[in-house]
Point group: C2
Chain length 443, copies 2
């Protein structure tokens, strides 16, 4: 008899889980419930369509709906799951009776933390998430002259750049003293902030949101902040992502300090026959074990594959995370892996720092840009515990590498004696990682 | 009394050695002899000036001559060293008497292997090396209609692309069945060869050079090959680089199977008080220990620093090499680290292969290009022993990383579970290294 597997959520985690479950158990019945009209598109691309770097929304779709049906994945669109019961192994779907499952995967993702200020219900507040809503918002953007982005989070950074590209007068407010305050060190993000100023963006640091005021039609007109009142016909709410855990909490599943579901290394939740993946979970950090929630689509997809494989009777483990990250911000790329200096200090993790600024190509090759690398290491052993970078090119590949280097116990000595490609159009005589490591070794 | 240190050669190795020697022993007298008019420029940039990607030759200079004088480095330009004697610790300089040294560093670099065919002494044969000659050749290129590049070596590839950019009808001949035959696997270089065809370059594989014929003025007019006679007013001789070891051999220093000087891990030669660095040496490969000669400017510079430090009384070791390499070729970037499939097979090194083609950015982001990664690993342990890649972006950074991964014993399992940055403009959902490793694990 075919195994019946139910997945709640059609994002990267849910779709990853569905594909892996079908691969591990081809005869299984795999059902994906989603409240939305679509699955299998890239929400991460939305800011770039708004910024007119990607020509249209349709290119964000990975596959036609028929492709999922052809793969034997039964996606139930615009269908709300009201709850589930691990005891009776049933899900309760709106407008249907309860239906049974052999294995359940929770992939309900995240919500933006509500601003919690007066005026939250006004029109003109944009929470970037669903592609159909994004298509509607994109038309509205043509008539927006003033916008405020609430919080310089990763999404906030992408949207600031997109709105500036679009010629909109853009302000960003954030309670931290610099952008990406929880993730990034101030020296790394400083060039990004300078480039925003050059792009005409106004930044307000150490600034809290107080409320929104609207016009008679109930549409936002101003944003009240501790740095004064800002005009805005559009507010992008890019607050912290929190786990969309309501269904799981109601079913009695265990959550951790972040609000994310606690899972083991096989993505099993505290309830039998229930797995979870993606932003609804928390995952231990590889350095120190602190739980993390709200990682990337790549993490969600990989976790989905682990959960789907195991739920289908296969065997696959998920590792603690070292979180390589990277993005384009202003006119720069920034990124890193594991701990930055601010995080290490806040967590009381002892560390030494090696920092250097190099270049991305031969110094005389057109397009050459600076690349600043900061490496953090354990004091005596000089084992790498983290890195942060800002530069013109190659930040993604370096971040991937440095995250694995942390995981594998690579030291500043190893990096200081690393060979590097030297070819004028693509690499300079000295790799900035090597120079930073040499600086760290000699401190 | 100040220590007297003599360096023969003003390329990357010699200049690296001079700077490191001054850093390790600031009071030392540091003398650099060079037969040429200049030091401290980047010969690696020459093909890109010829290709008009870099606007002028002057930008290739790193520093004014005064900068070396200010740093206490005494460069003797256009000065030929006739010999040296380790016994009496003297160098013999043309037009001067013998002069003593406390430490000697041989950094005499490479020569192109002579073609060894009739017509070698004709005009119009260009050996890319010296910047003053390159400036003269660059003017000649304006009037060249037909060019032949002898051997699809790394320099040959750069020159083919440069000549094609310049609108010159370019043919390349090579005795191997594909380009970079000694370095690169045929599946990796295939897209490069296709892109050359699109650029109008004509390739002749499995083709040996037979000779050159000239006009009455002694200038080359045709190139005779086993694939017929090719018209050419210019021939770029990009044959294998061989160690310029004549002085060292005359002084009785030991050379290895490549013709490079044998050095220990402190860059000491077989003679007391004599060190060597750069293309005149051979260095053991990290996988299998086979000696390698003719590496990159980055290797030469790093070896120079090790030799200079040790010769000045400091302490610094040089590691076996894993040779990350990379370049722009045709419309692609290619690169790799340690062993490719052809080399591993030729050396009888048992291996498994994991290969995958991914993409450099989100599939919908403008500028996205394929990235093919091939990983080689030891059969049972799955320890990485090499990699080869071709793609649109990020090849240099991946090659650096994979060379260190080979050195540190990282396995396909490690790479298969590696996290990666996902951000539409700079990184795809799945890193091609990870996908290739997953393919290798499951074979």
């Amino acid at each position: 008899m075919a195994r019946r597997m139910v997945i709640i959520g059609g994002g990267a985690a849910g779709i990853g889980a569905a594909g892996a479950a079908k691969a591990a158990a081809p005869s299984a019945e795999v059902i994906v419930y989603t409240a939305f009209e679509d699955v299998g598109y890239s929400p991460c691309g939305i800011p770039y369509v708004h910024g007119k770097e990607i020509p249209d929304f349709t290119s964000l779709f990975l596959a036609e709906k028929q492709a999922y049906a052809d793969a034997g994945i039964d996606v139930r669109y615009e269908t709300t799951v009201l709850g589930f019961d691990p005891e009776s192994r049933t899900v309760q779907v709106e407008g249907e009776g309860p239906s049974g499952y052999d294995a359940l995967i929770i992939a309900t993702g995240f919500d933006y933390k509500p601003p919690g200020v007066p005026g939250e219900d006004l029109g003109g507040l944009y929470y970037v998430k669903n592609i159909r809503r994004a298509m509607e918002w994109d038309k509205i953007l043509d008539n927006v002259r003033h916008a405020v982005v609430v919080e310089a989070s990763p999404l906030g950074l992408e949207m600031v750049t997109a709105l500036a590209h679009r010629g909109i007068d853009t302000h960003v407010i954030d309670p931290h003293p610099w952008a990406l305050g929880e993730l990034c060190d101030p020296d790394i993000v400083a060039p990004v902030q300078e480039s925003w100023a050059e792009m005409g963006v106004t930044t307000h640091w150490d600034t809290r949101l107080l409320g929104f005021t609207g016009d008679r039609e109930g549409h936002v007109r101003t944003v009240a902040t501790t740095d004064g009142e800002l005009p805005a016909e559009l507010v992008v709410v890019a607050t912290h992502k929190v786990a969309n855990n309501a269904l799981a909490v109601a079913a009695g599943l265990r959550t951790g300090s972040t609000g994310g579901l606690v899972v083991d290394d096989h993505m099993r939740t505290s309830a039998p026959h229930v797995w979870a993946a993606g932003d609804v979970c928390e995952i231990p950090h590889g350095v120190g074990g602190l739980p993390l929630q709200g990682l990337t689509g790549s993490h969600a997809y990989a976790q989905g594959k682990v959960a789907g494989t195991n739920a289908a009777g296969g065997e696959r483990a998920y590792q603690p995370v070292y979180v390589p990250w990277g993005m384009v911000a202003g006119t720069w790329m920034i990124g890193g892996a594991a701990l930055g200096e601010v995080a290490a200090t806040a967590l009381g993790v002892p560390h030494v720092v090696g920092k250097a600024t190099g270049i991305s190509r031969a110094r005389y090759f057109p397009g050459v840009r600076p690349v600043t690398v900061k490496l953090l290491a354990e004091p005596r052993t000089l084992r790498l515990i983290g890195a942060q970078m800002v530069g013109g090119e190659g930040i993604k590949e370096r971040a991937d590498f440095l995250a694995l280097a942390v995981r594998k116990g690579i030291t500043l000595h190893d990096l200081a004696s690393m060979e590097n490609v030297y070819s004028p159009p693509i690499g300079a005589l000295n790799e900035p990682i090597v120079t930073a490591a040499q600086a760290g070794v000699s401190t």
